[in-house]
Amino acid sequence: MPTDSNFKRLPANAAAEVVIWVEGKPLKARAGESVAAAVLAAGLGPTRTTPVSASPRAPYCMMGVCFECLMEIDGQENTQGCMTTVAEGMQVQFQRGIRNVPEVEDNA
């Protein structure tokens, strides 16, 4: 996994370790942090491509506003990584382009 990241965790915030799976590979995260924080700290990304131009993006505002951090988290596409707390065994995929709409039959 890439480790070249501009983001450093503060030692004061030491917390228990949690393993999440990003693009099929294990990543050690800290309990209580967001998926976006874990991914940035590991230097991973880009974490999505945009629906219109397929431009690569990564988490930005970290407070739920900009929607740049959309990822597929535990099967849910377009989930805001900065608003989702890591959990043991969580499955994270990067969001590639626009979300597929669920089939109508799924709601029957």
Partner: protein
């Protein structure tokens, strides 16, 4: 580009009060007539229907008790493609105009039948020239496979379409200023000094002098119109809008309640409330909008909402526009409507020609739209 507004005095041939879609469309048309135009606008604090609307270029059902309004709406829709092309040519901004026809979805058979009766009467009033068709559930499902199983049907008219209203607003501002229009955002207009053929408009520390003035200030027209010898009995009517995440395209047709933008965003709306100047949102109304949207398109149950807002329509007592020149102060014109998107092409075309020349094309029947009717 226009310079930043400085304290002082500005001269223009025409002053347009209001820099929303109505004011900017008229201003564009006046520029096309070779006139030097100043637009005075409140800026970001304005109650801006132009930023809160649903983006429909809509004809079907409009003017059921006013054939002149039905004709004006349709005329504007037919002028819209050229209007959009002009914006793209000058600004490079594609406002995403699509006029493949619109669907008005009816949840019950009774609603569908009432709508059929209304549209047939409108067709009779237009001597049979009013294209629409009534779709039962199966015919609707053939056009939109994602339609919900309990929906009765829809009316479809090829006259309807939609645009992206935010891109439209941006393109119109850019076109106006690129063509040396003076956009003055010094706050509300506090006073209009009116003399026949000479008007002095005060806004903040700016004074704008011109031989003609156009009131396109939306709800602000109520206070301004008497200062030029006119009357604008307009009131706010709130609509709440829900925005959902971008999802893969499933809905090409605009509908009266749900549409999907070119980027895949879902927009839901069509609530109506009389709540004064309150642009807020309420849980019960948003829940009603969401429930109806899911009934129409069940797949939306699994699509997440990301944003909502309230915006204020500018409504006259009968819902139809006011177009009128002041008799007391010739050169002062009032333009107000609640369909600033649909009517934008007409405002930039025949309405601006009327203001530039002082003479209206008789086929517009503008006397129908005088405020004297109230």
């Amino acid at each position: 580009m226009s310079a930043a507004a400085k304290p002082g005095s500005v001269k223009a041939e025409v002053t347009v009060i209001g820099g929303g879609l109505v004011g900017l469309a008229v201003a564009r048309g006046l520029q096309d007539q070779g006139l030097n135009v100043a637009v005075v606008d409140e800026g970001d604090i304005a109650l801006r229907a132009s930023r809160g609307n649903f983006g429909l270029v809509w004809v079907q059902g409009k003017g059921d008790t006013c054939p002149e309004y039905a004709r004006l709406s349709r005329l504007s829709a037919t002028l819209w493609q050229d209007f959009a092309n002009g914006l793209a040519e000058h600004t490079g901004i594609d406002v995403q105009l699509s006029q493949i026809g619109g669907l008005y979805i009816c949840l019950t058979e009774q609603e569908l039948e009432q709508r059929r009766i209304m549209l047939e009467a409108m067709r009779d009033a237009q001597q049979g020239d009013y294209p629409f068709e009534v779709l039962d559930h199966d015919a609707l499902k053939a056009k939109v496979p994602e339609i919900g199983p309990t929906v009765a049907g829809a009316t479809h008219s090829p006259m309807d379409g939609h645009v992206n209203p935010l891109l439209l607003m941006r393109a119109m501002v850019q076109r106006f200023t690129d063509r040396n229009g003076q956009l003055i955002t010094t706050g509300p207009v506090t006073k209009i000094e009116s003399n026949p053929g000479r008007f002095v408009v005060h806004s903040g520390d700016q004074v704008i002098e011109s031989s003609r003035v156009v009131l396109a200030a939306g709800l602000g027209n109520r206070e301004l119109a008497p200062q030029v010898g006119l009357s604008a009995p307009v009131s706010p009517n709130r609509g709440q809008v829900l925005i959902a995440e971008r999802v893969k395209h499933f809905l090409d047709y605009p509908t009266g309640h749900v549409r999907q933008t070119g980027e895949g965003t879902i927009q839901c709306g069509d609530s109506k409330e009389d709540v004064g100047l309150d642009t807020g949102t309420t849980t019960d109304v948003m829940a009603t909008i969401a429930h109806r949207a899911i009934t129409m398109f069940p797949l939306l149950a699994k699509v997440r909402l990301i944003r909502s807002w309230g915006a204020l329509r500018v409504m006259t007592p009968d819902g139809y526009p006011i177009y009128q020149q002041s008799e007391q102060y010739p050169g002062a014109f009032l333009v107000t409507c609640h369909s600033g998107v649909t009517l934008a092409a007409a405002h930039a075309g025949p309405i601006a020609e009327w203001i530039a020349s002082g003479v209206a094309d008789p086929s517009l029947s503008l006397e129908t739209f005088h405020a004297d009717r109230f």
